[in-house]
Symmetry: C2
Subunit: 276 residues, 2 copies
């Protein structure tokens, strides 16, 4: 993306589309006609072409490309290139690309990961793991135009094992992480990852971080509910949540129709909530 | 590696060499004559050829290869292949390869990362981040011949931000993680990552996990001290620590000599400690 910061562009696009839909590109091997990088690429290209009109952002998960080695990386680059092409074709500004990579390493290594994500692949944002602390985030932070979504309370059942551990003052660890992120956010380019499967945690985190963007996986296949998620996490201005749907769109017989349906479902639920 | 589990092979090789030396392959851009995948590969190949006699294990860090995109992945494969070739040439059995990747994602995604590490790249072990909990580890766990080193207390200053947070019972989070790893270790293929920069944490973790292998970064450039590390973390049988040296060998004018010197330093310190 040429102009503006990740979050300013995200916010503008979300407002323009009246939507919060993020389309996850997770080419699981079970979805592929053949176990090849080309097959993963083609599945994603189909979703990108179909859903670009409706997607506030795209979120490719690098794991499913890495699983094919070097050709997988080329496939991922082709998918990112295709998102840029769709944005140019549609003429409504850039479509933000969030690389779901969940990286976290000591500073000198994190620099290399940041280079891979932002310079080699050209992503606009990335997901990061907070376990190694502030100095593992700083090399990414310095890319001030980019967005960093820090894992806080993830959507999987096992998230309880570490993230829910209670601290001395009775708070769960994920609240501590959200507070640290508030301290770390010198340049205003940090978001959180919060699963839709835990609306109570989402509500609590919205109190701790009233203005922050949350990337929200766990709707659809994982069982999170749309209205409960919106009620728990939406900012007063109706923004601040990026609702990720992956398989529901990627594996649909017609990704364009599936994306349009999710778009409608989100905008309609938002309207109904406004009227209440 | 064809036969045996990762930890049985590691233990056998460590005993045969009388050493605990792990050679980290972290081709930082500052160490390269040119910013290319080929240059990163050549630097690592030089260290592999020089240090294979002395290395109990090699630990390539995938970040520095990813930073070159697809060609970086090919370079990493070439480095891993070269380690196999050196093992064949030396005829003293396989040399274990630990992929330093610090991955962590929900189960269905973790499967893809496991495939990338173990099947595409052919690593024998991997480093993993525990923040997403047990179900993020299980897909790796099922590769029972492979070794998984779970990040526990890392060597960087920022490790305090999350890992040192005190829980309700007064323990730091990293102790909780070590105890969880004890519960998760159904097949005996889990180790921990514990930095040499925190010998007190190392000693405490040895109490919690008396038999577990610890992968120990932080010696050399990061300031950890050899004897303090050995005193804090060695098992009664003189094994259980894998002491990682990266830049001290990779960037040395003569990696073979640097590796031999570290080998001697380790074996001599072990001997002196035995005699006390």
């Amino acid at each position: 993306m040429a102009q503006g910061t990740f979050f300013s562009i995200l916010e503008e696009r979300s407002r323009a589309l009246g939507s919060l839909l993020c389309v996850g590109l997770d080419p699981h091997p079970g979805l592929l006609p053949a176990p090849t990088a080309q097959s993963a690429r083609d599945l994603c290209l189909r979703a990108v072409r179909g859903a670009a009109t409706w997607a506030v952002a795209f979120k490719p998960n690098i794991a499913f490309f890495e699983a094919f080695g070097a050709p997988g990386w080329e496939a991922l680059r082709a998918v990112i290139e295709a998102i840029h092409e769709q944005a140019d074709r549609l003429g409504r500004g850039p479509i933000p690309i969030i690389l779901d990579a969940k990286r976290g390493d000591i500073a000198s290594t994190a620099e290399a990961y940041a280079r891979a994500a932002f310079e080699v692949l050209g992503a606009d944002a990335i997901t990061l793991n907070p376990y190694l602390g502030y100095d593992s985030i700083t090399p990414f932070l310095e890319y001030r135009q980019k967005g960093l979504f820090i894992l806080c309370k993830t959507s999987n059942p096992g998230s309880a094992d570490v993230q829910d551990v209670l601290l001395r003052d009775g708070r769960p660890l994920y609240e501590h992480v959200a507070q640290r992120v508030n301290e770390w956010d010198r340049y205003g380019n940090l978001g959180l990852v919060v699963g839709a499967t835990f609306p109570q945690a989402l509500a609590r985190l919205r109190q701790i971080a009233p203005q922050r963007w949350f990337l929200v996986p766990g709707l659809g296949a994982q069982g999170g509910e749309l209205e409960a998620t919106l009620r728990a996490g939406l900012r007063p201005d109706g923004l601040g949540l990026l609702l990720n749907l992956s398989r529901a769109i990627l594996a649909a017989p017609d990704p364009a129709r599936a994306a349009a349906e999710w778009h409608d479902k989100i905008t309609q639920t938002l309207r109904e909530m406004e009227q209440q």
